[in-house]
Symmetry: C2
Subunit: 333 residues, 2 copies
């Protein structure tokens, strides 16, 4: 492997000091325009690539922001990540990404790995963390942003929305269209904390309206998706007609249930209403379109990026942002 091209090499080629090269490459106005141009051209010609490791070492700023997501294979989390990483790239920050696979233990291990890289902030999805995780970040005095959830007692900043409020809207809509016997389809374990919150919020919203207890249908361990929704609906068959509405933990699950209903010859929404969560593409493309909650995954990413910029600039004010939700009524209810 050829030796790395350094600022010193560029400096020698141009006939200046490496200090001037350093300044020129950062577009420092104190370097004369002519010299700057010459240095930048030479740097390009020599194939010079800036060494962020050395910079991070010297300035004691890593240029990293650590982000944990439950899963990358989820259009909403992916969208939040996309918005976030594009905004951070503009600030010259690199994102270190880790996926927890919806497991708290995995989050702890991940945070440990990520902290070894000296991130300047940590963004986590959801407000539930192990004690060890909390201790780790507190010992460092690291800035933390919880996203998607709005925890009662966040570690630092929070950008998210209220699941209770969203499910309340959904149940209100179903009741207003005459549905009373509700079922909820979601994961069996509590690993998907946000899914469990959606379930509990739906149960509470139904209870407060005097509806019969919500039946909880178990689609398997988290994460659950299209195939799990289809599988449980096919397993239940026409017993689904004991209910007049099935609330699903997410749009993919709802789509699975909807597809199974077609195979089972169950008329949606005539015999059964189906609702989802998340405003995924499948929900507004399929026929009939699925009634759902739009959670503005994009905005979450944008708002988190704003807070990160403030943190990196040294601002210490605490932020708590509710991005809100929106009920989208489709053809399944």
């Amino acid at each position: 492997m050829a030796a790395r091209v350094t600022m010193r090499d560029v400096a020698e080629a141009v006939g200046v000091s490496s200090m001037t090269v350093s300044r020129a490459l950062r577009d420092d106005e104190t370097v004369s325009a002519k010299t700057r141009a010459r240095i930048q051209d030479t740097a390009r010609d020599l194939g010079y690539v800036y060494d962020t490791t050395a910079q991070a070492f010297r300035t004691q700023k890593s240029g990293f922001v650590a982000v944990t997501l439950p899963s990358i294979n989820n259009a909403n989390f992916a969208e939040t990540y996309r918005a976030l990483s594009e905004a951070m790239a503009e600030s010259g920050m690199q994102i270190l990404l880790g996926a927890t696979n919806y497991r708290l233990e995995k989050e702890e291990e991940l945070v440990r790995q990520l902290l070894a890289r000296n991130p300047q902030a940590l963004v986590m999805t959801g407000g539930h963390h192990s004690d060890a995780t909390r201790d780790l970040v507190r010992a460092r005095g690291l800035s933390v942003i919880d996203m998607w959830d709005l925890p009662v007692d966040p570690l630092g900043h929070a950008v998210g929305f209220s699941y209770a409020e969203a499910m309340e809207k959904m149940v209100a809509h179903l009741v207003s269209t005459g549905r009373r016997k509700l079922a909820f389809v979601g994961a069996s374990d509590g690993a998907d904390q946000r899914g469990a919150t959606r379930r509990d919020s739906a149960i509470a919203a139904a209870a407060s309206r005097g509806l019969p207890p919500v039946a909880v249908l178990d689609a398997g361990p988290a994460p659950v998706s299209m195939r799990h929704g289809a599988a449980i609906a096919e397993r239940m068959g026409r017993e689904l007609l004991n209910f007049d509405a099935v609330l699903c933990v997410s749009d993919p699950v709802a789509f699975g249930v909807l597809s199974a209903c077609r195979r089972l010859d169950i008329d949606v929404p005539g015999q059964l209403a189906i609702t989802g969560f998340g405003h995924f593409e499948v929900a507004y493309t399929c026929e009939p379109r699925i009634t759902t909650i739009d959670v503005s995954a994009h905005n979450i990413g944008v708002e988190v990026a704003h807070i990160l910029d403030a943190i990196i600039a040294g601002d210490s004010e605490r932020h708590r942002i509710d991005v809100g939700t929106r009920l989208v009524v489709g053809g399944t209810s």
Copy 2:
């Protein structure tokens, strides 16, 4: 914030040199067991935290592998990434992820950013790169893996499959079931290089069988997904019946077309066959299931991880792995 605790501080507290501390913390056997224990205890007591940045700087080994993907919001790329990152975490490597949004210029910018972090290898999706990108990595002597494609002239290693072979299978299947008038739905621009290859391969496969020319239907700029498939099908309306099969660039697009056909009262597969690509979850959950090509996104990730392990271990052999494809016949053809 208090000044950072360094190896030197630990060394002074214990009464040894910082060199011995360095060795002891790495559990080097040449340090006596007693000294090692004393150093490790003291380090913990003082709240010493190892500085990965300094290590990366000194050893010139970042512990990073850079990965570029066209998009993170694609179940297949996400799955490849997941398999890859889990395998690399076991090797103690961190992945630096960047998304090109299907743009070659963006790839170049991204590679420049990623190289600044001194990755020990670079994994890129697809075999098409700008000259500048090629120069950048060659100047560094950096190990490169192209994935998904199997380029004729790869920069280094390659893990992928043949699009031509896959589309050949698909066209053969359609012909064997009596279809002759084919259309292809994909992106209008060439930005999605792999999508364009699928299109061209389908055209070639049809031509070699003496079928009439394949009509190319433009679903908009890349990336195209469910909503674009639905939109173009709805725009065309019953003119779709000029064809007897629509090959779609991906399963999401095929699902969009299928959903639109339901709204248009077009019988699939009676009046029209629809096929996709990629074996996405939506393809095997929807009703009827979509005929598609399974591309083993997971295996690509696993194989890339194997090669990365070899590269990091210093192996220099060139690898080229064809993970193959599989025709999955559903109810849409």
